[in-house]
Symmetry: C2
Subunit: 235 residues, 2 copies
């Protein structure tokens, strides 16, 4: 029989958005040791009177600088390797958040800087081809978070959380293209989205003209469906 040794409990956030047609994640540059100067996922410690999800929502507001975060948040998994933080024993309850294009973030008090990074730039190559090495085990968290999002686009309507309402089907398709790395077939994509009850609900309005010209697409809003069955397949 053993005692219960003290741990610090933190939340880390993989906040995703679509920027310029690519999946982007929010990173902060650490001001303090350890890993001062390195880039890391935003996060912080859980306060005594809140649970992990509340802490994640709080950090989300603090780090993105928006009052009411307009997107989706869910728990990813917990990382608890004994040596993951050199200072002390910290377990981190990682979360995934995603939202339509957010404003350029402001650096918080504990961060020297904060900005969006294209995820592929961070995770490409053997360890850090184009982007910086991430602090702690955040590279692994980011890998897991991206895989969660990729998988969930297949069998849920989560993609609609990446676009602001109202949105067009081509916009929604670009979300899939950004997250999966390759766009789903145009016709089949429409057939699937429109054929799934409650995926999107039509408005009889048309979108604005895009800079590239072309026919203006119809606008839609999110439906109340959450699951796609059978799933959409990537590849």
């Amino acid at each position: 029989m053993s005692e219960h040794p003290p741990f610090a409990v933190a939340v880390d956030l993989a906040v995703f958005t679509i920027r310029d047609g690519a999946l982007a994640v929010l990173l902060v540059e650490r001001r303090e040791e350890p890993f001062a100067g390195s880039w890391a996922l935003p996060g912080g410690f859980v306060e005594p009177d809140e649970d992990a999800e509340q802490a994640a929502w709080r950090e989300l507001r603090e780090e993105t600088g928006v009052e009411r975060f307009p997107g989706h948040l869910e728990q990813l998994r917990t990382y608890s390797a004994p040596d993951r933080d050199p200072r002390m024993r910290v377990v981190s309850v990682a979360h995934v958040a995603l939202a339509p294009d957010l404003p350029e973030p402001r650096a918080g008090t504990d961060a020297a800087d904060a900005r969006w990074w294209v995820v592929d730039d961070l995770l490409e190559g053997p360890d850090d081809a184009d982007g910086p090495a991430l602090a702690f085990d955040h590279r692994q968290i980011l890998v897991d978070a991206r895989e969660r999002v990729r998988a969930k686009l297949e069998y849920t309507t989560l993609a609609t959380e990446f676009v602001a309402e109202p949105f067009t089907l081509p916009e929604l398709r670009r979300v899939y293209a950004a997250v999966w790395g390759t766009p789903p077939d145009l016709g089949n994509f429409r057939r699937k989205v429109l054929g799934t009850d409650g995926f999107v609900v039509p408005t009889d309005t048309r979108g604005h003209a895009t800079e590239a010209g072309g026919r203006r697409a119809l606008l839609y809003r999110r439906g109340d469906a959450t699951l796609i069955s059978p799933p959409m397949t990537r590849g």
Copy 2:
């Protein structure tokens, strides 16, 4: 900017097996307060030198009494409500484990008793129709754990972890029947399992005679596939 208040970090386990054609879960009767006398999921605190998964494996050995646990273990999610343990702040990293029929468990030092419960008896009805109320938030953990297993049978080959090798297809089908509550169609089930490369590998042996008589089924072993695509559908 805040300090990092101390937490205790625990693991809780939902250990599933198939007994008499029904999905069963291992519960322990608590000896100590809080919830002394109540039934709870087995679990314990994470030690300073181990991560949550190692702690879960250790508890699995201790609570089931088997040297080398023969099944599958994975993290479920983390439960962190501030008031989930009346003594102090405890966050629990819940895990799901499953294995072929295990021996009747022995009560550990901190448990007055330990036994298998039929999951449907525990979760049926408004709150506790047939089984006991569970300690802490373990009812919720159990609900989430069962749903995880149900879902994973659809798109992974996890079901094979519920049967001892070698096994017959009817045995494997009974796993699906127990977990989903209704058996998949006989012919279609065989077609799917045998048609998925690496789900099972045949041995040219036949199974023993069952008490009910009938033709003896062919024996199989687990293949190296882990994913089923497209998934098997329940209902």
